[in-house]
Symmetry: C2
Subunit: 391 residues, 2 copies
Amino acid sequence: MTTPSREFRFADRIADIEPFRVVEVLTRASELAAAGRDIVHLAAGAPDFVTAAPIVEAGRRALADGHTHYSPSGGLPALREALSAHYARDYGLDIDPRRIMVTPGASGALLLLSALLLNPGDGMLLTDPGYPCNRHFMRLVEGRGQLVPVDATTRFQLTGALAAAHWRENTVGAMVASPANPTGTSLSLAELADLSAAVRARNGHLIVDEIYHGLGYDGPTRSVLEVDPDAFVVNSFSKYFGMTGWRLGWLVAPEAAVPGLEKLAQNLFISMSTMAQHAALACFQPATREILEARRDIFRQRRDFLLPALENLGLTVPCRPDGAFYIYADAARFTDDSEAFCWRLLEEHGIALTPGVDFGHVRAREHIRFSYATSMERLEEAVGRLSRVLG
Amino acid sequence: MTTPSREFRFADRIADIEPFRVVEVLTRASELAAAGRDIVHLAAGAPDFVTAAPIVEAGRRALADGHTHYSPSGGLPALREALSAHYARDYGLDIDPRRIMVTPGASGALLLLSALLLNPGDGMLLTDPGYPCNRHFMRLVEGRGQLVPVDATTRFQLTGALAAAHWRENTVGAMVASPANPTGTSLSLAELADLSAAVRARNGHLIVDEIYHGLGYDGPTRSVLEVDPDAFVVNSFSKYFGMTGWRLGWLVAPEAAVPGLEKLAQNLFISMSTMAQHAALACFQPATREILEARRDIFRQRRDFLLPALENLGLTVPCRPDGAFYIYADAARFTDDSEAFCWRLLEEHGIALTPGVDFGHVRAREHIRFSYATSMERLEEAVGRLSRVLG
């Protein structure tokens, strides 16, 4: 490499933004696998399935048809309409397509909402544990994620009472995920309404990350839009729809927010992937949905296998996860340094896991996230290896 | 639409971020075309060509091969290596692949660099006229674009002397584009070295937008990296490589900046489009380069037709554009409100153009940007229509 010929000074936020550790785990796991090691992958936050064939075929067709140019900054009109129809069909909701903006992954939606809602010094309530990038998007625009410790008593979720107790003078809103990462727990409609009321009473904004919608195993995943038409919703084609590598998400916003969001999208993105959007249109076809529902059932079977297996090993899971593809296990019996523990499991036993420290601070060093986005056979292999290590 | 049930307050930056007007022109032009009007498109900042066949084929093959998952946050290693080889072959430069980060369009690179370099209140010198989104990326992170008026005396470019004259206490760097949008003028190696010296003398950062590299018509486009190994370079697969709708760009950074940029990319993007990156590998094959070079020649022919044609019509172009696909014409003889003038040309005469106000403030109301990213036949049609309006 070139030797730097001078001192570089970077912005202060760089010191505050942490690496997304799961990415480092995944990188190391790939290296070990490339070196011939047999790695069991329970770290990834992405479905193991290849994108469903009808979607892939639609993408290939879009390319053959020459859809290689920019497309509108808010998304292809046909896709916004398809998403509106999706809300009508799956949720019984009437959402104007103009309130739905396609984004480059849910990551793009998080960028737009942070930019829209946070002045410097403003805070937004977030759960600890929770998806780590949220607070870094807020830090990017000089806002702050205000971490609220949550535990099994609220199924690791923010409640109206917790929001009220933690609301500060500079708080402008609250953000939750349902189903949540890393805990896989969801909010009921009543819980969403309770939280919405508390946020609304403080004239705050409510953002709900619904990217794991569709992956609910004990009943349908319910949208905050069913109880709060003013909420902001972040969603994605990555998880239930299985399109991670295509980088496509969306957000639903109240009408008053749309002009600001459009200006931001024009400047920050210009356009999303055009062929990915044409491909995504195939997500809503019955043949595709059939594949996706079958995959959901497979995820459920994996949870139903892995959850009791981990508990048998002495790992504690105080709240039954009902969605996403994660189990957040308390490993206090085995470690008080889950990061070192996970690295050891990876290096010595070929088990890739995500340490709790990726998701916050609250008892993070005693927790491990298990992703069951891998085959039943590999889950069995993982449990076998773990039983030899922990038994 | 749902009637908003309460007042929404948004962040102050929203008031400062302007729409990217060319997007509004393009939207209206599409509406008119859809309604049956014959529109001549001279507004778009994107090649009219469909992505070259070998790249499209590589994309289709990547999809068929199941490359639908996330890929590393810094880009596919093979693509970073291909870009390093590109710098060796086309520029004679030895750039470590680790210093090259693939980004979701050049837009993604602009986001990373704004986040890396600007604390709140910090400023970065930019030319007026220039690419409008630059200052909005800076506003996003509470930095400021410090506009430096430029004119024909410096070929609408920033010079070392101009940078010195406009450098303020809060200035942390300067950003230029070569070839530039909207003027199509490039900086020579000597001019890049002069600017670099002025920036370095002030311990500042130098960013050069090289997204129109490869589209130079009066000699090769030269990279700032040939004279300043510490400069930040923004580049893109959208223009010369013709991959706009795939959303893929890259940046080259000094080694000291890479860890911070990697953390940012992990949090803000997770991954770029995986199939787009596999497709982009085909950009560097000889068969593809042959197509791209032929397209470059076509752009040159268009410039050589349109430039004298516009001058014959009474539009003034004080600096011969040598790259990109833009002509920035002084229309003072015809209007002192180029925005209204462009809308009239679109609505009444079916000619889509971009008003100067999209690119800054300096005599912007007397300027119009002509994009020659359309066929010779349509350029002739445009000149015919313009001669009837202006003649």
